[in-house]
């Protein structure tokens, strides 16, 4: 049984087709990164999975249980199985509660006993001293607050952690600490994780598998080494080529694929393949026929692109490496 099974998930906000048919599985204990530009719908997928919103279509199974349309009451026993950590810890911690109350709240709702002891343990696990329990969130630094969010998320021992841009608001050195912590906790506790981010270096660091989202749909997914080593979809290739690497010699030898500034609207997405308006190699078929998702390699490497062959070969939109600029 997988920790998470999302089947043909659809989330429309009025005319906005934020998520439009996403199918995704996360095995027990595995980390799947969901990447894409802002507006691609990746956070909405996360919000559907933890049922902050009720999906417009498709199904979400958490540890085998269909939670897609459960009401608040019916959801309650399943809440402990999934937690979420948000980007901005200042906005997701109640400023009127102490850190101890914040971290212990999930257990209180489950009517558990020995809450203070468990809170201490949870704080220790994320590298905070027990005294922090008596502080208010505003007394902590950004990195410490994010540790508090993680402690709260993990105190109910969920099968699945949804981490929505958990490091994006933090400074580089603090990011490093939070990434290390997530890697340690995931290894020790063995929860499955949906890691939503736009930071590709963090993806390579944490994820076992990568799913690439564009305008509400997945365009490619597969094992980390395959996606970074042999990206098949032109959008994945462009995305990876655009992220600068912190090495001047290497970075200057690279040539990013420039896609243009216009992400099409999710109210009226392009016909056929949604990426065709920015794709450097699009052909007529791409403008009219929606590409099916196909398996193109081991480890469940899948792609939705007409131009990629069944053996994973296909167009490479990345310019050949030139002389240093």
């Amino acid at each position: 049984m997988d920790a998470l099974e999302v089947e043909d998930l659809v989330m429309h906000y009025g005319p906005v087709r934020a998520v439009d048919g996403v199918t995704l599985r996360i095995r027990q204990g595995s980390v799947v990164a969901l990447v894409g530009e802002s507006g691609s719908g990746k956070s909405t997928v996360g919000r559907c999975i933890v049922r902050l919103v009720e999906p417009s279509g498709g199904t979400v199974h958490l540890a085998g249980v269909d939670i897609t349309h459960l009401n608040r009451r019916q959801l309650r026993p399943h809440r402990r199985n999934v937690s979420i950590v948000f980007q901005d810890p200042a906005g997701s911690l109640d400023p009127r509660l102490s850190v101890g109350d914040i971290v212990g709240e999930p257990l209180r709702l489950m009517r558990r006993k020995d809450i203070p002891a468990k809170v201490n343990e949870a704080l220790r696990r994320v590298g905070l001293r027990p005294e922090v329990a008596h502080r208010a969130p505003h007394e902590l630094s950004g990195g410490q607050r994010q540790r508090v969010s993680i402690a709260r998320a993990l105190i109910s021992e969920p099968h699945l952690l949804v981490a929505d841009e958990p490091t994006s608001a933090l400074d580089v050195s603090v990011q490093a600490a939070v990434l290390n912590l997530l890697a340690d906790l995931q290894r020790d506790l063995g929860f499955a994780c949906l890691f939503i981010t736009h930071d590709l270096s963090a993806v390579e660091y944490l994820a076992d598998e990568v799913a690439v989202m564009y305008l509400g749909q997945l365009v490619e997914q597969g094992p980390r080494a395959r996606i970074f080593g042999k990206p098949a979809h032109p959008y994945t290739q462009a995305l990876l080529s655009a992220a600068p690497v912190p090495d001047p010699a290497e970075q200057r030898a690279r040539r990013p694929v420039l896609l243009g500034d216009d992400l099409p609207s999710a109210i009226d997405p392009p016909s056929g393949c949604r990426f065709h308006t920015r794709c450097p190699v699009a052909v007529d078929k791409c403008r009219t026929v929606v590409p099916e998702r196909r398996t193109i390699g081991e480890g469940g490497h899948q792609v939705a692109c007409h131009l990629v062959n069944d053996d994973g070969t296909g167009p490479d939109v990345r310019p050949t490496e030139g002389a240093a600029r």
Partner: protein, 325 residues
């Protein structure tokens, strides 16, 4: 070669309710003709305050000492008229969030033309023609049509291109780019970095690039100044800095971001424990000492000065061996 911009012993102190706050302490650097100097550091290190003090953009609560010479003209203490003739014309700024820097009730054409009419006295028709040229220069397609657009009709990347067009309208000697791509997706960022590179190559504009992103530094900078707690702690040519970082803070920053191809199994990210200090006055000590893994006794009793030479470092116990990444 005489530098276009020479900053010498620049110090900035803010008056606050809790007493004086030292934001920048005796910062010196030079920017040559057509050179890109990156100023890097984490939030609160004083990099934006340094940038804003150059053309007198700081609020009245700031006391600025030292010297900023632009092509031989002293800007610190200069009268309003001098500053007004220099701002926008000799020194131009672009900021992180283009939406808040553009006026929502005027078309982008109007806003670019305004710069040209105010500073170089072009008439309406010439200003419009020049505005279209500028939009083309920064890579906006169908500029003739876009010139009639309001800011909200443009994507984030295009707004930033408009900001750059306005900034370079009067062919400034120095462009100060304060986190110009931080709010943008990587695919959009790649395009903006390309525009900045083009400006330097085609117009010979000198650029002061303020950023926390070492990938962006590796992409664009010729030289780098690393700031910590209001001081420049290391400055060197870009390849030299990445290959032979000498200040423990620099090595810490470089080790904090995940290297390409590394997973948590094989690399532990470098954490810098503690926080950037908030200083009421600069102590006679190294401000990084209490977070530094290499600190020795001298570090807490005496302030290190930048060494002379092309690769300058302010540290009592610098890293001499090449670091392994």
């Amino acid at each position: 070669m005489t530098p276009v911009l020479a900053v010498k012993d620049l110090s900035v102190t803010f008056r606050t309710e809790d007493g004086p706050l030292s934001a920048v302490d005796h910062v010196s650097f030079e920017v040559g003709d057509g050179e890109v100097l990156a100023v890097v550091g984490e939030s609160g290190c004083g990099k934006s305050v340094t940038a804003m003090s150059i053309a007198g953009l700081l609020p009245r609560s700031a006391t600025v000492d030292g010297s900023v010479e632009l092509d031989g003209t002293e800007l610190i203490g200069a009268d309003k008229r001098t500053l007004r003739s220099i701002r926008g014309r000799e020194v131009a700024y672009i900021f992180q969030e283009p939406m808040t820097s553009l006026n929502p009730v005027f078309t982008v054409g109007h806003q670019i033309s305004e710069v040209l009419r105010t500073h170089i006295g072009l008439n309406r028709q010439d200003a419009r023609t020049r505005a279209i040229e500028l939009l083309k220069l920064v890579g906006i397609s169908s500029a003739e049509r876009r010139i009639g657009d309001y800011p909200h009709q443009l994507s984030g990347g295009m707004r930033q291109r408009v900001m750059i067009a306005m900034a370079v309208a009067c062919d400034p000697k120095v462009l100060i780019a304060d986190e110009p791509t931080t709010a943008l997706d990587v695919t959009i960022q790649a395009g903006i970095l390309d525009v900045l590179r083009g400006l330097r190559e085609r117009l010979g504009t000198s650029i002061v690039l303020i950023t926390h992103d070492l990938g962006v530094v590796a992409d664009l900078a010729d030289r780098v100044a690393v700031m910590y707690a209001g001081r420049v702690v290391e400055t060197a040519e870009v390849h030299d800095l990445f290959a032979n970082p000498q200040h423990p803070y620099t090595t810490g920053l470089l080790g904090a971001s995940p290297a390409a191809g590394r997973h948590a199994e094989s690399q532990r990210l470098n954490e810098i424990p503690g926080l950037v200090p908030v200083l009421t006055e600069q102590p006679d000590a190294c401000t990084f000492a209490d977070r530094c893994p290499r600190a020795v006794d001298t570090c807490t009793t005496s302030q290190p000065q930048l060494t002379p030479g092309p690769h300058r470092v302010a540290c009592w116990n610098p890293v001499r061996e090449p670091v392994e990444v």
